[in-house]
């Protein structure tokens, strides 16, 4: 008999979601859907506010990656002022984003995903979490938590608080790094590198064992999108947008965020509050593309720092080209932490990070602006229209997790098809379905600009539409 499995709520992700798995009459998986069930309305209630407040307001979308919204909003503000941000201001913004990458990726890897790898997909869900990890490998757990703290503290040293520092403003930033802050970061760098290498080596060993996961966790051809620098190097703040396909062919390059409407469409499905962006020239849903750590490593030609480039080459060797398995997001995340640490190290020797000339002043010079920045989870767009006094008339936010929506749905379908046969579903298999989502480290609070937490609910739905089985986890 046909049925549907429902995983609700999805655990160890940021936000609230459920997964429905649809079975056919033979009990085989026909389709699977990742539903985002929260709604917030930031784009609406920002209307009428002065644009200068947008960085502060949109940062509140998320407690994990407020820096991403802060930077995208400040960059959109730069466009409205039509000013050039002082060199030191840009470097400082970059520094904060690198701190953000470090802390967010460390959170995703150590706190949220590593319990699956290290404790086992089928281990007891009661301990398959960061506390179980602390019990099983206290040294690794402590190192991971301290690596996240390193990133968070960089944010605090710059913006005076770890979360929701309203420090990046239209035109630049409010203040430079203090000498005390610089000393602290320098002293903590060696330990952070060491933790990262431990995790990276551990993950590479696991990768040799997890051949099924590598094959089944969202391995499919798709486009990848991300920012790249002038010379095709890895970017997280500036540069231009590039689309590349799984074979490595550059489909579109030197795209400007200002024209995002011409290459990104946003589709809506009745069963999710999360929109489905797609690459317009290929249409919906064929224009499926992925963003985030794996996409950034796939679109760039090189990273631009020695150790990270070495690891990038190794990753591509292991995958035999550009990796297309979403399981490689974890791998890419670790390589990005390495790149971030190397770039932070470079910035510590740059006199600009303590320069006082960090903010350009101007009035409203443009009535419309689009800002783009790489959030840890992928490319983030802010688009504002203002009146002649600078009051917001219209806001559109395109969030990384939304852009991965099609890919996440494809990933859960692939995993469900591989692991689920018939009505009885072992918990460990459901966990693999959830883990498919965790590869993308989705932030649903961001992507729907929504409130709440993210537990998981899986529904098993029969061919006749009847609910046959469901599993809740809160």
């Amino acid at each position: 008999m046909a049925k549907t499995v429902v995983i609700d709520p999805v655990t160890r992700i940021e936000g609230h979601a459920k997964i429905s798995i649809y079975l056919d009459d033979a009990g085989e998986v026909e389709d699977a859907r990742f539903h985002v069930v929260e709604y917030r309305g930031f784009e609406k209630f920002c209307e009428g506010r002065p644009f200068t407040e947008m960085a502060g307001i949109t940062a509140r979308i998320c407690g994990i990656c407020p820096v991403s919204h802060l930077l995208a909003a400040a960059k959109t503000g730069d466009k409205l002022l039509a000013v050039k941000v002082p060199v030191a201001g840009e470097k400082l913004r970059r520094l904060m984003n690198l701190g953000q990458f470090t802390q967010s990726h460390a959170l995703s890897f150590f706190h949220l995903s590593s319990p699956d790898f290290l404790l086992g997909w089928d281990s007891d869900p009661a301990t398959r979490n960061v506390f179980g990890l602390i019990a099983a490998d206290p040294d690794l757990a402590r190192a991971g938590i301290r690596l996240r703290q390193f990133g968070q503290t960089i944010i605090e040293k710059l913006g005076a608080r770890k979360i929701h520092a309203a420090w990046a403003v239209p035109g630049g930033v409010r203040s430079p790094l203090s000498e005390e802050g610089r000393t602290w970061i320098r002293e903590r760098l060696p330990e952070s590198f060491e933790t990262l290498y431990t995790a990276l080596n551990l993950f590479k060993q696991l990768l040799d064992r997890f051949t099924t996961e590598t094959e089944e966790f969202g391995k499919f051809p798709s486009l990848f999108m991300g920012l790249v620098g002038k010379n095709g190097e890895w970017e997280h703040y500036g540069g231009h947008l590039r689309f590349r396909d799984s074979e490595g062919t550059i489909i579109a390059d030197h795209l400007s965020e200002d024209d995002y409407h011409s290459f990104i469409g946003e589709a809506v499905e009745p069963w999710s509050y999360l929109k489905f962006p797609y690459y317009k020239p290929l249409g919906y849903p064929d224009g499926i593309y992925r963003v985030g750590p794996l996409a950034r490593l796939n679109v760039c030609d090189h990273i631009g720092t020695e150790a990270a480039d070495r690891e990038l080459r190794e990753m591509r060797d292991r995958a035999g080209g550009l990796p297309t398995s979403s399981f490689f997001y974890h791998y890419a995340r670790l390589i990005e932490i390495l790149a971030a640490l190397e770039k932070i190290q470079q910035l510590m020797d740059d006199p600009d990070v303590v320069s006082e000339r960090v903010r350009a002043q101007a009035g409203i010079n443009e009535l419309e602006g689009v800002g783009v920045s790489e959030a840890p989870r992928g490319t983030l767009f802010h688009h504002y229209k203002v009146d002649e006094n600078g009051l917001i008339q219209k806001v559109n936010l395109i969030i990384a997790t939304g852009q991965n929506n099609l890919a996440m749905n494809k990933t859960v379908t692939q995993i469900a098809k591989h692991y689920i046969h018939g009505n009885e579903i072992p918990e460990g298999l459901l966990n693999r379905v959830e883990a498919g989502i965790r590869c993308f480290d989705p932030c649903l609070s961001c992507s729907t600009h929504a409130a709440g937490q993210m537990p998981l609910h899986v529904e098993l739905i029969g061919a006749d539409g009847a609910l046959l089985n469901e599993v809740y986890r809160r």
């Binding site: 009428g48 506010r49 002065p50 200068t52 407040e53 960085a55 502060g56 307001i57 509140r60 929701h164 309203a166 403003v169 239209p170 409010r174 002043q361 009035g363 006094n389 600078g390 009051l391």
Partner: protein
């Protein structure tokens, strides 16, 4: 000049006739919370935070506009007053749209300070979420009516110190709001001298310098000192 003798919280006090209970308390070093009171301009008793109890009078009196009288026995901090003050602050929060986390005056706000002072940790009243506007038509300043508590300090400082009388209060009751000129956009009011006294006088983030972002409104309370002495010292610009 005759002197009145009275007690505040059982402390005997002698003060000139014509002074207010708030003056007397200040002289005796007894704190009474205020929001609409601003040294150097007239008092209006708008915020009701300075309410005190006077023995023999069965209603609460605002200390800022009640003159001292011989033999008054005043209490400033009874449980009843504490409860009423907290309620007054909660009502102010529930009335407008006060979102501290993204406000220009966060950490530099008298409303925030007073909420802490009266021990408010949340509002027991349902928020009204009124639909109010923001006027940033002035070249340097803006007014966000969402954050206005109708203390009228801007009205009084503009009228009594600057002499421009740009501001007034329109409507009645819950519909009240501050208007500039003849209910025109601020930027079109010719009487405005762009002196910025209203920005300094505003206790919240309602009137601010344009371009200010979250928590950036400088809480320079010394500017208030300037407002008080400006007329005597002939200082018309800062």
């Amino acid at each position: 000049m005759s002197v009145k003798t009275l007690t505040i919280n059982d402390q005997p006090i002698a003060i000139e006739e014509g002074k207010t209970i708030l003056d007397a308390a200040k002289e005796a070093g007894i704190p009474i919370p205020t929001l609409c009171h601003l040294e150097g301009v007239s008092d209006v008793g708008a915020c009701r935070l300075c309410l005190v109890e006077v023995k023999g009078i069965n209603k609460l009196l605002p200390a800022c506009v009640t003159q001292v009288a011989e033999g008054m026995e005043i209490s400033t901090n009874t449980p009843k007053l504490q409860e009423y003050r907290r309620m007054a602050v909660e009502l102010i929060f529930a009335e407008g749209n006060h979102v501290c986390s993204v406000c220009v005056a966060n950490n530099n706000c008298e409303l925030q300070d007073v909420a802490v002072e009266v021990g408010m940790d949340h509002s027991r009243f349902v928020y009204r979420f009124p639909d109010r506007g923001v006027d940033v038509s002035h070249s340097q300043f803006g007014i966000d009516h969402n954050r206005c508590i109708l203390c009228t300090r801007c009205v009084r400082v503009c009228d009594e110190v600057e002499g421009a009388h740009v501001w007034d209060v329109a409507q009645r009751g819950a519909a009240c709001y501050i208007v500039s000129g003849m209910n025109q956009p601020w930027g079109e009011v010719e009487a405005c001298t762009s002196c910025g006294k209203c920005v300094d006088a505003c206790p919240t983030g309602a009137i601010f310098r344009k371009g200010t972002t979250t928590a950036e409104k400088a809480g320079d309370r010394e500017k208030l000192e300037f407002l008080v002495t400006a007329r005597e010292q002939g200082q018309w610009t800062r």
